[in-house]
């Protein structure tokens, strides 16, 4: 795997490098063979297929983002984006994105090998130590997240089930305190992991959007009404024609975020007035938000183009539609993420804090 050199002198190159292209082909081929949509359906409602996870383990996928000297694959974040996109295209019922993020922060041997499943708690633990609705909570053996002012990894028994939900994801509450607990450092250490989660999830959403567009185009080409393919009607064409720009834009943002993460800290720029951003935290937020919009739009429109069949459980677009929402909303309302982005861009809002009780009037 080649890392993109910081401030590389070779100039702009928006192609995947040869290794990344090989990785994309490998994973797309793997999911085409091992994860046809029947596997996705078979894994519902839990949203986890153990056999598929084990097959990914045999490929070395669970540890590919961890350092080589710890038995990992040494892949860069940019390389992992390619894998995350393939997961999204296949809507594979494996928590690979969350596992990769957890394992990069907590390079435990059994996580790297994939014997254990890792996950991340996207919100800090509540006062009672509960991590609410962890995206992989029903199946993760180790959850990494914030508890108080620390980031901790907690190994405990996965419940194996959770609340039924929109996207058939393995959501469940977990405890930040019950189990084998490893303190990884101050809570701020988790910020970079969350940036990586947003960036990789953006890529997974790009994969969902791209495959959904392909499904819409295929259906509009084969479905005939009034004696012609419905894809020859401009009203249908134009619904789909907006999507490639959104998808490509989201992919470029995610890759820019991964590239920015390789820059020296003193080269990180946030300049709203000049539209110049090389800060990985800002770009990860932008990529996550925009990819979420792209995936929502692509699944909305593709489902609509499918007509009544798109609404039928038997057709696959509904699987993509639900995951486009679920994979995104586990992190919180998009408006809250935009508010966070605005704070990063503009500085925090200077609303006066309420006067402390008993303060002089």
């Amino acid at each position: 795997m080649s890392a993109v050199g910081p401030g590389g002198a070779e100039g702009i190159d928006l192609s995947l490098d040869a290794d990344q292209q090989a990785v994309a082909e490998l994973f797309d081929g793997f999911f085409a063979n091992e994860c046809p949509v029947s596997v996705v359906r078979g894994a519902e409602p839990l949203g986890f297929d153990r056999a598929l996870w084990d097959a990914l383990g045999a490929l070395g996928a669970p540890g590919m983002g961890s350092p080589e000297d710890q038995g990992g694959g040494g892949a860069s974040l940019a390389d992992l984006l390619v894998v995350a996109e393939a997961v999204g295209r296949a809507i594979a019922p494996v928590p690979l994105v969350d596992h990769l993020v957890a394992t990069r922060l907590f390079p435990d041997e059994e996580l790297i090998s994939g014997e254990l499943v890792g996950g991340v708690a996207l919100q800090p633990a509540a006062a009672d130590g509960t991590w609410r609705l962890v995206p992989t909570g029903a199946v993760a053996d180790v959850v990494v997240g914030v508890d108080g002012d620390q980031v901790v990894a907690v190994r405990s028994e996965a419940p194996g089930s959770g609340p039924r939900n929109h996207a058939d994801q393995p959501l469940a509450d977990r405890s930040a305190r019950a189990g084998e607990r490893t303190v990884l450092g101050p809570a701020t250490r988790f910020d970079e992991a969350l940036d990586e989660w947003r960036t990789l999830t953006a890529a997974a959403l790009v994969g969902i959007a791209e495959r959904s567009l392909q499904m819409g185009v295929a259906y509009a080409t084969e479905r005939h009404q009034f004696g012609v393919p419905i894809g020859s009607f401009q009203a249908v064409q134009h619904l789909l024609a907006d999507l490639p720009g959104l998808i490509d834009g989201a992919r470029l943002l995610a890759h820019r975020a991964a590239w920015a993460a390789t820059l020296p800290v003193d080269q990180r720029v946030v300049d709203v007035d000049d539209n110049e951003f090389t800060d990985p935290t800002v770009l990860a937020s932008m990529a996550f938000l925009f990819a979420g919009e792209a995936a929502a739009a692509a699944t909305d429109r593709s489902l609509h183009v499918h007509g009544g069949y798109g609404y039928a459980e038997e057709y696959d677009i509904q699987l993509y539609f639900r995951r486009a929402r679920g994979w995104r909303l586990v992190a919180g309302p998009p408006a809250a993420e935009r508010a966070r982005l605005a704070d990063l861009l503009l500085g925090p809002a200077s609303t006066p804090s309420p006067a402390p009780a008993g303060a002089a009037r």
């Binding site: 993109v4 590389g8 928006l14 894809g231 134009h238």
Partner: protein, 381 residues
Amino acid sequence: MNFSLTPEAQAYRATVRRIIAEAVTPEAIDRMHSTGTFDVPELTQALAREGLLERAVPGRGGGDPIELWLLFSELEKAGAPYDGISVALMVAGVINAVGTEEQKERIIPTITSGQALVCMGYSEPDSGSDVAAATTRAVRDGDEWVIDGAKMWTTMAHEATWLILLTRTNTEVAKHRGLTMFILPMDTPGITVAPVHTMGTERTNATWYDGVRVGDDAVLGDVDGGWRTMTVALAFERGVMGGTNAGVPLLRHFRAWADEVGLLDDPTVRDHIARTAIDNQVAALLTMRAAWIAATGGLPGLEGSMVKVFATEAYQRAARAFQEAAGPEGLLQFHEPGAAADGFVDYDARHSPVTTIYGGTSEINRNNIAERHLGLPKARS
């Protein structure tokens, strides 16, 4: 992927920024908005003096697409005029690609020296998106051509030295095959220019051609080969030479004003700013991609369509959101006390509607994407 500019490209961008900072003064911008003529001669001449125009002509000074992209991005971000420069450089590139040696020597230096602007006679009163339906006639008469007809939206015709004119020379063949492009001086007898004023204050023109006589030296490309000349021109333009960064100065102006009047803490305003910042960055990345494709030998026609549709519609969303957020102050125009962002909020709300129309409507671009990128069946006969 690597998003880094080479040191050479960074130096080029720094030069462009310096020239803009020196030539595009607040007074020059104010003059543009009050006269409706979006041209700053000092800027064009300064770019020419530093050799940047010559260097930007495709096929002549290298015409490096990365540099073209940087040049137009910087102009647009600064709120400097770029349409005149864009048309002139594009035409210089077309002349270089399909013109005769004599035309290259006679015309290109007047453009690259910053002395001459070019206006475009493509659209007509009855043909816009269907540009190949042009009916302005050019008829052979001895050694000469006689041109009669009318054109719309000939922006800068009242300032330009040259006119690039799409005409019909053959009515016996399919519409795309009977077109011929001419390039002629604007002071050729028989040309009439009348102003067309717009909602966005820009002045454009309608032009009439009444027995305009030119020689063969005015034919650009082949007789009846005008469509190919058009195609060459469009390939230079799409997605790189401006029109995709209008949201940047809008956001800059609005943000500064919102800060000044205490609106910057409003959660709705912050939400609009976050959305616009994302859209601006996406537009910049899609534009960068079009430039990179061109720089690596490709023709980014479809990618240009994608960024054109996205960037102009995002600009309209932002212009509307910011005007609504500003309330009545968002209605006030330049120089009016209390005007939101010194009048730019009103200006962008009035200007933005044209951006999804000119340079290829959103619908034409969506047709291209649907049929040539997505491979959907053709919609029209």
